[in-house]
């Protein structure tokens, strides 16, 4: 019935994987240790011995190198580099690593050959650091003035640039830091670590920094933005809880479902189509308190990269966006303690060197305390809180190896003990952890091996004491390898792969006692293995044309123990299948091409285009329209759920001005989405073993135009963003098979963010958001049944909530008069300054009781008088937060 296991696909993937990685190990390894004992032997014989012992090859001209000279060597377990250094010194020659060979040259030739005749190239590589904290800087700009070329540091702060031999000036820059120019004498491969110093006070670093610097600007990237954590820190926030996820709604093309929600939608994609990574480990549901706050606080975050499309080939698994978050590594030079106290929670972080200059750690924690206040009003409430803990340790093993250990745990917990029933409650828990190993094979080949895992676990606890609960989870354990070959400034090649094991509990009831008082249905757990391989190549074809192309291959294997059902066209069960543990019973293989082009009109203006295909195998199954995080479940692709796919085509115009410092971009996109999921009316989602029969599948299309104007530097910084888009879905058996607007379809999306340094100690920022109201289904008529007024619907999502708009204001007062080590400030935030009532729902089933409260009627002896109502979550919301650091 189902597709058999396709072993040939796995074989093909393995062979491709090996093929991709063979070049990585073909580079000469000068650190290899060998022993050699020769007495008065000709040089060419000694070189032969080194070749055979070290597995390397030499290239030289016999007329230039005195290969017949006789020398003596006695080396025991020395590195090839050490041996070559001795030979070079004795013969007065130099050795160079060129491609896969060691080239021997006379010293004089190297230094006197005219630039135009030079064919040898050398590589300078290293890390770019913050001089104060020792944190590596992600996306720092390296620009070679003489060649008008450059590169940027990777997510681990590493750079590598290969240049023809000669003398150059390399500029190293990073927004908010002093630019330094370093002379480069390219006569051998060298390692050069750079430390940059802050150029301005922290308050002036408020910016988003996409495309900063020449090299960064010339990256073939579109639909991408880098959001600085410091920007998030000064953005106005609900109840002072600065929030990475909610700050995304200020970016054109990204919209939130509504107030009180961390669910977001990118370019017409559904809420489960966004991959949020924290140090490479996915965070499945980054929300606290049903979504009022997110799990990601900026205090422990170093970098946030957002891809609204054009997701790099090294990432996959979601259709619409990637939010790649990197936690701080921890201060390498000194111990620092920071924290904040707000209305809802307190936060504290401690970071510092474990071994100065070699290893550091960070621990950041947050705990809410509003439950103490609520207990006074709701005695039945037993406990309510949320918490976060982020920890990280990194260790520089040597110049070529680094290790990172990251962990995150977040929890929400409520419990109550009303007089008439047992202690019950709910909890949501997120865990994520990763171990990463950075290794430089050569100064051109950089690798990162990551072992990671994450889990989202949530329960509705019906009896806390007996441990009776409905519980669901999604989890993964994964290993991935990424290799980057910085071939030359015009060409970077990446390849790698991933193996990930997923397991799903789509919601089951468990009893703490052995005797089960109620026989609840059992929903089969699901298991799957994902194997992915990719490569991407980015190269400058000419001065005006650059191209990035890549491909991601992924295989999805469903395996037992599992029970699967087959359904007929009426969605009735026709057969049941049981699979033994480990038995592979279904597979999907997908090819995801990714292509990007950049046409440079001049150094500051370019036109870019991109196409990408993305595939998604994990699906959030929920028919709720609530903005809150609820008890939804996750299901994998399988026999009854095909993988979601999307084709995204985007074209953009990008211009960077230097005076004033502005960047401007216009992007148009069209997105086709396949195997999209919707639900039959009133689908039974919980504790339903046949939940797949409630799903309906179809397509979706989204088209839009996004404009972004940013100012990155100066006392006034910020951006103006506008997006016009339209998203429709066409799902079998929904809306009479006719297309309908998606719930999250918001044609107009406008955002303005501005931060202004009034003085060196006062910063004011405002944030204004406007969005068309989201689509919903409103009744076209009503009928009566058994005293109930029942709505009748014709077209799905035929109506819209009122337009959403809100102005937020934030004022930061630096309380330090002098540049003391103890730094503290006060932030006053006012969310929804003009008290806009933004409804999250409109209903037609409420009445008023004798106390004037709006309720659902119970007494139907006489027909209740119903009226339309709307629900909104908050009006004007002031808050104050005290932050400190020392």
């Amino acid at each position: 019935m189902y597709m058999p296991e396709k072993n040939y696909i796995s074989f093909f993937l393995v062979m491709l994987f090996l093929y991709c990685f063979i070049p990585a190990f073909a580079q000469p390894d000068l650190e290899k240790r060998i022993s050699i004992n020769v007495l008065n032997k000709p040089v060419h014989e000694i070189l032969d011995e080194i070749s055979s012992a070290g597995g390397i090859s030499f290239s030289y001209s016999p007329s230039e190198i005195p290969i017949n000279s006789r020398i003596s060597l006695s080396e025991q377990e020395s590195t090839i580099r050490e041996i070559l250094n001795k030979i070079s010194a004795e013969l007065n020659i130099r050795y160079l690593v060129v491609e896969e060979q060691i080239v021997l040259k006379p010293i004089d030739e190297i230094l006197t050959v005219p630039q135009t005749e030079i064919k040898n190239k050398f590589t300078v590589s290293g890390y770019v650091y913050d001089i104060e904290t020792g944190e590596v800087l992600i996306g720092a700009n390296i620009f070679i003035q003489e060649l008008s070329t450059g590169t940027i540091t990777n997510p681990f702060g590493f750079y590598s640039i290969t240049l023809p031999e000669g003398k150059y000036s390399a500029g190293f820059s990073y927004l908010g830091y002093k630019t330094i120019t370093v002379p480069l004498l390219m006569e051998a491969n060298t390692q050069q670590d750079i430390r940059l110093e802050h150029s301005v006070s922290s308050m002036q670093e408020v910016t988003i920094t996409s495309n900063q610097g020449e090299a960064a600007y010339n990256q073939i990237l579109m639909s991408h933005i880098n959001l600085e954590p410091k920007t998030v820190s000064v953005m106005p926030a609900l109840m002072g809880e600065t929030d990475v996820i909610k700050s995304l709604q200020s970016i054109p093309g990204i919209s939130l479902l509504g107030d009180g929600s961390t669910l977001f939608y990118v370019r017409g994609g559904n809420k489960d189509q966004n991959l949020v990574l924290l140090d490479d480990a996915p965070i499945y549901t980054p929300s606290h308190m049903l979504g009022f706050f997110s799990t990601i606080v900026p205090d422990a975050i170093k970098d946030i990269q957002i891809y609204k499309g054009d997701i790099p080939a090294e990432h996959g698994g979601r259709l619409s966006s990637l939010v790649d978050i990197r936690a701080k590594d921890g201060n390498m030079n000194q111990w620092r303690l920071s924290g904040s106290v707000g209305l809802v929670s307190a936060k504290a972080s401690i970071e510092g060197p474990v071994i100065k200059g070699r290893s550091s750690m960070l621990i950041s924690a947050r705990r809410s305390y509003f439950g103490w206040f609520i207990n006074n009003y709701v005695p039945a409430l037993d406990e309510i809180y949320f918490s976060d803990l982020t920890a990280k340790y990194n260790f520089i093993v040597n110049d070529k190896n680094r290790l990172y250990f990251s962990g995150y745990a977040g929890k929400d917990y409520y419990s109550e003990s009303p007089a008439e029933s047992d202690l019950s409650g709910m909890n949501w828990r997120n865990f994520a952890g990763s171990i990463r190993w950075n290794h430089q094979f050569t100064n051109k080949w950089f690798s990162n091996i990551t072992i990671y895992g994450s889990r989202y676990d949530y329960s509705l606890i019906t009896d806390v004491n007996l441990n009776d609960a409905w519980n669901a989870h999604i989890a993964n354990a994964s290993i991935k390898a990424d290799f980057t070959w910085f071939r030359n400034p015009n060409n970077t090649f990446k390849t790698g792969g991933l193996v990930s094991y997923h397991n799903f509990n789509p919601g089951n009831y468990t009893f703490g006692t052995e005797v089960q008082p109620v026989d609840f249905p059992v929903v089969s757990r699901k298991y799957a293995t994902e194997i992915a391989l990719y490569f991407s190549d980015s190269r400058d074809i000419s001065d005006w044309l650059s191209v990035r192309y890549g491909i991601r291959l992924n295989t999805w294997l469903n395996s037992g123990e599992a029970t699967e059902y087959s359904f007929n066209s009426e969605h009735q069960v026709t057969d049941t299948f049981y699979y033994e543990p480990g038995e592979v019973y279904n597979s999907y293989f997908n090819i995801e091409p990714r292509i990007g082009l950049s046409f440079r009109i001049n150094p500051s203006t370019s036109i870019r285009a991109g196409y990408s295909r993305t595939t998604q195998h994990v699906h959030l199954i929920t028919n709720t329209i609530s903005p809150f995080t609820t008890l939804e479940v996750w299901l994998p692709s399988g026999p009854n759920i095909k993988p979601q796919k999307a084709d995204i085509l985007a074209v953009g115009f990008f211009r960077k001005l230097t005076n004033p410092d502005l960047t401007f971009s216009v992007e148009g996109f069209y997105k086709w989405m396949y195997n999209q999921i919707d639900y039959t009316d009133h689908a039974q989602m919980l504790l339903n073993p046949l939940v797949e029969a409630e799903l309906r599948f179809g397509t979706a299309e989204s088209a839009g135009l996004e404009i972004l104007l940013k100012k990155d530097l100066g006392r006034l910084t910020g951006w103006f963003g506008y997006a016009f888009s339209h998203t429709t879905r066409n799902i079998d058996e929904i809306n009479g098979n006719r297309p309908y607007p998606a719930t999250w379809d918001r044609p107009h999306d406008l955002s303005i963010f501005a931060a202004y340094d009034v003085t060196s100690r006062i910063n004011i920022s405002i944030n204004w958001i406007y969005m068309t109201g989201s689509a919903f289904s409103s009744p076209v008529s009503f009928y009566y049944y058994n005293g109930h007024s029942v709505a009748l619907y014709t077209n799905k999502n035929n109506d819209r909530l009122p337009d959403y708009h809100r102005l937020d204001l934030s004022m930061l007062f630096d309380l330090n008069k002098n540049d003391d080590r103890f730094d503290h400030n006060l932030v006053l935030s006012i969310c929804n300054l003009y008290n806009r009532k933004n409804p999250i729902a409109v209903n037609f089933n409420k009445t008023e009781n004798d106390d004037g409260e709006i309720v659902v009627p119970s007494n139907i002896y006489t027909p209740p008088q119903l009226f339309p109502t709307h629900t909104y979550l908050f009006g004007i919301m002031p808050s104050v937060t005290y932050n400190f650091k020392f």
Binding site: E420, L631, S781, S789, K846, P857, S858, Y861, F874
Partner: protein, 269 residues
């Protein structure tokens, strides 16, 4: 749980609110047939009510008069009479439904025939009536309603109009329907706050508990999704309520076993 989360939201987001608004619906005259029909195991005249949808909240529905309404049993058929004429209410002769038979409702209006088919399952006895003191009032009580082991619908008729000092009017009468479905729905767990009906000592409570077969319970679940559960914290997508009627008619034709009792509310010990 729902109450706690509501409190939580109110306290956390002190300004949160539900307000009465005016809303211009894009209404349409939908000439659908609405059927409310039920026969039970009681030997009485049962009724089938036929109406049309309304385009405004609280509007009085137009009855569908002149229809030919027939209930078919395997061995016989019974034509219902509209009574009073023009009311859209069609009555059977005195009859009782029995377990094991399939009942088919047929409605002919002009050239259209609408049908529905169902059967009856037994009902379990009523549990004892439970009530407690109403919140904030020592002289008034409220019903404590609990789920039953099998799907059921229980009607509560409360009457305190005959008590001394009470106005002999509809304001001293109440009808509450409590559904027990045995399903797990987020919409039900976190449904919006419901009106609390309070009544004094001496109130007479008449209860009628109806059995529901699987299809009837499924229909009621969708009905509640659109009525009592709509507007809760975790609302589900709006959608049309299920029906067992053919040809695009809405509503439901049910056959139920029923048990009942009466209780006078006495002071709690």
């Amino acid at each position: 749980m729902q109450k706690i989360l509501t409190y939580l939201l109110i306290i956390l987001i002190s300004g949160s609110c539900e307000e009465k608004i005016s809303w211009d619906l894009d209404t349409r005259d939908t000439p659908l047939l609405v059927v409310e029909g039920m026969i039970t195991n009681e030997r009485i005249q049962h009724q089938v009510r036929l109406t049309r949808p309304v385009t405004e909240l609280n509007a009085i529905p137009e009855p569908v008069s002149g229809a030919i309404v027939v209930i078919h049993e395997p061995e016989s058929s019974m034509v219902l009479k509209e009574s009073p004429s023009g009311s859209g209410i069609y009555l059977t002769d005195s009859m009782r439904a029995v377990i094991g038979k399939i009942y088919t409702l047929s409605i002919i209006i002009g050239e259209n025939e609408f049908t529905a088919q169902t059967d009856m399952v037994p009902v379990t006895p009523l549990d004892s009536l439970e009530y407690s003191q109403a919140d904030g009032s020592s002289n008034y009580y409220k019903l404590d309603l609990f789920d039953t082991d099998e799907p059921s619908m229980t009607e509560y008729y409360l009457d305190w109009s005959k008590l001394p000092g009470s106005a002999n009017s509809d304001s001293c009468k109440a009808k509450i329907i409590y559904y027990s479905l045995n399903t797990v729905d987020v919409g039900e767990m976190f449904k919006p706050e419901q009106e609390q009906v309070v009544f004094p000592e001496g109130t007479v409570v008449h209860r009628r508990k109806y059995s529901m077969n699987e299809a009837h319970a499924a229909f009621i679940r969708t009905l509640l999704s659109e009525t009592e559960w709509r507007g809760g914290l975790f609302d589900v997508q709006p959608g049309n309520v299920q029906t067992n009627l053919s040809e695009g008619a809405v509503g439901y034709f049910a056959v139920s076993t029923v048990v009942g009792d009466s209780t006078i509310i006495l002071p709690l010990e």
